[in-house]
């Protein structure tokens, strides 16, 4: 699509959508959001980019093949699940670490659950882009 307005706007919109997607991903545990929604928002950003500037440029901007991103996400999610074996817990039991924990403050939590959510994010992001790019290139 050769629309200058769309291309210029996309430059800002895509970046905004990507940042917003990470924000959605990270707040997901306590507020509306999460890996699935985050992945969808992130994918939207690149879909927009692909529509405005073509898939060649979108692929270049992405640097990695979207299939690989999806597979990596699946691997991260699996690793997050397997991590509980080190603690003799059942598969996919969340493991938590609280940095700077005090009596009345839990501090900064880090958990395998977050990594699992990141895996979900990457799977959704990569899968959608795999499909969209392939379809656009075929037309």
């Amino acid at each position: 699509m050769k629309s200058l307005i769309l291309r210029v706007a996309t430059r800002y919109l895509s970046a905004l959508l990507l940042i917003f997607s990470v924000y959605m991903l990270l707040r997901g545990h306590n507020e509306p959001g999460g890996g699935f929604i985050g992945g969808l928002v992130g994918a939207t950003g690149f879909v927009l980019y692909a529509i405005a500037c073509g898939t060649t440029m979108a692929r270049e901007a992405l640097r990695v093949m979207p299939q690989s991103i999806a597979m990596a996400g699946l691997g991260i999610a699996l690793a997050a699940g397997l991590f509980s074996f080190f603690f003799d817990d059942a598969f996919f039991t969340g493991q938590w670490l609280f940095i700077g924990e005090t009596e009345d403050d839990k501090g900064y939590p880090i958990s395998t659950v977050l990594f699992f959510d990141i895996g979900v994010y990457l799977v959704v992001f990569g899968s959608i882009l795999t499909l969209v790019f392939a379809m656009e290139e075929e037309i």
């Binding site: 997901g28 545990h29 306590n30 507020e31 509306p32 959001g33 999460g34 890996g35 699935f36 929604i37 969808l40 928002v41 994918a43 939207t44 879909v47 529509i51 299939q67 999806a70 597979m71 996400g73 699946l74 999610a77 699996l78 699940g81 598969f91 996919f92 969340g94 938590w96 839990k106 939590p109 958990s111 659950v113 699992f116 959510d117 895996g119 979900v120 799977v123 959704v124 990569g126 899968s127 959608i128 795999t130 499909l131 969209v132 392939a134 379809m135 656009e136 290139e137 075929e138 037309i139």
Partner: protein, 790 residues
Amino acid sequence: MAQAPDRSTGALDYLVVRKIYGNKAPQSGSDETGDKMAQATGDGPKSNGILGPVPVLIPLAIFIWSLSFIGPVSNGEVVRLSYDWVPSLGISLSFLIDGLSLTFTLLISGIGALVMLYSNTYLAGHPQYGRFMLYLTSFMLAMLGLVLADNLISLFVFWELTTITSYLLIGFDNESAKSRRSALQALLLTGAGALALLAGLIILGVAAGTFEISEILAKGDEIRAHALYLPILILVLAGAFTKSAQFPFHFWLPNAMAAPTPVSAFLHSATMVKAGVYLMARLHPALSGTDVWMWTLTIFGAVTAVFASVLAFRQTDLKQVLAYTTLMALGTLTLFLAFDSGYAITAFTTFLITHSLYKAALFLMVGCIDHGTGTREADILGGLGRIMPFTAAAAALAALSMAGIPPFIGFIAKELMYAGAVEAATSPVFVASMALAANALMFAVAGIVAFKPFWRPGQPTPVEPHEAPWPMLAGPIILAVLGLIVGIAPGLIQGTLVTPTVAALLGSADEAKELKLWAGVNLPLFLSLGTFAIGFVLYVFHQPLRRTLAAIDARAPNFDRGWDRVLDGLKALAEFQTRLIQSGVLRRYIFITFATLFAAIGTTLYLRTDLPDLEGIEVLAPKQWAVVALIIAGTISVVLTRSRITAIAALGVVGIAVALIFIMYGAPDVAITQLLVETLVVVLVAIAMLSLPFLDKPGRHDHRPLDAVLALGVGTVTTITMLLVLQQPIDLRLTEYFEQTSWPEAFGRNIVNVILVDFRALDTFGEIAVVVVAALSAYALLRTTAKEAQ
């Protein structure tokens, strides 16, 4: 270009692409000769690097580790290791080490180590060496799991793992159509048998009240008297017979020779094909002793043994000859498992060990010949004794054991077989004569395989003959010499392996008979002498006899071709029903799907005849009415427009209106997801729709009225169902549970997300796996069709 001695060699042709020019033997590596695998080693000093031999350490470590069990097991101890796997179904990952499983473990790991060492040279520089070793190691571990499993279900899992890994190994040369066909044939046939086996094992477990094999074996009388004994037996034997290639399921085994030679050596000596024999031996205490068991095994075993020996005699490719002798061995082992006398079971055990030793040695030896000469044709090979002295020595030792000549272990095994046959509970005359025929043919075959290629004159071979390097010789020589050592000193395996195995099968170590070279002048000795005499005559006249057999064989029904016809029939049936059911018109599919939905729900509603109570339904607020209006407007646009893009956009409006409903009723997560998915779907579908024509004009074949009726019908029954659902009291236990535990236990306030990533993370994992698979499949589909279109 003169016609080369290019005989029709049946199954060999696919591997051997011969181009022999006149009488000149082509130079090594400059020609496409011999086993494709061996060929990789032909051109110069290639190797797999220093990591090449590392996999050998795995079987070696297992071998040494299992040696440590010899002490306890020979004292009659039974070692059990157990780990709960699926406790709710009574399935545990438990292992049982007794004489039988230890014998198999030692054979598998010991021969495995030698085969891997051999492969490192045989496949030196092969581009897929790493893949090969991965398959081989996985196969070996699956096989070890199978023989050590003490639970019917885990045994079955390992059983199927051997099926799958052997499929990969047989089809290793995946560019050859013949290779792929053989692999698929083995997979389908043993896989079909395995389905029967699964059913049999489950019934057995239910009948016995436990899935632990060690407990089942103690309940033999109870199982034999059980009403379901016969179904159990038929199903289990169906699995064992297909796996161990008993007649009439034998034909996959010779085809499996498409695998590289080290694989054949491993699969057909101690492992894959012995799995069925192992299963029958394992369940022998629980299932044997009835007339059905005895007669079934006697007949199948004997027929397989004799039939296979005759066919072995008929082959000219050395590897095919060995393949059929493997069938003979499997038949013999099955035959002796029919009985529960001490002699029969001792014969079974001794022959099991004997066969594994000499068969692995012979297969590896044939690989050396192939590697050194570029051919495996019995009629061409000759005079190699001086050029390949070590191969010749290994071949001679292994073949003497196979022929059953003293002082080799093969002789002792044969004597015990005759002793077992004479006291056979079914028909001693039948069993003894069958054993005699099979053994005499084996004697002749031993001569064809190991005497003629080395010490009789032959024809020029495709490659200038040369001796194999030492890593390839180590295996056959060690195994062949072992056959001699345990023959001279049978005490080495008597107390350590044979007696504990017999004890595992018969329940008492006292039943085991002594292995000795000189058992006195008795009937077995005379039968042995008869074997030698008949075997010698058969060897001398083997070439004219082979021609006669080939003529008969050509007229006999061909199982392999029959198999093809079965598969073709199956494919034709699939094609027929696909054409019948799958019209390919998307609209028709959707119509049928929704019509079925309507019929199913409508019938249920009609039969239950309760209508929703409309009282108490809250009145909609103005903003809710607005959303409803939006949905209706969107729907009407979809129905009326002729532009696909408009239709898609209008459908998007409906989806977004639904998202608004979610927001109104307090489900922001669902609403956001719905919004995003709706947006992406519109984009995706719009891209796809760009190249499609306008929607059909309403013409003569107007389907819209019918579609409208169906749509209204589905809408009505869905609405009624929803209203009925609302009248049911809602069970809030789950909601309450998540509300209460979400923060204290999973440290999250967004319950939807906590459920997704923590409480039900396994489900989510399954779902994202599906997403990835779907995306990759769609990608592959798009790419293939795009390529075809170009």
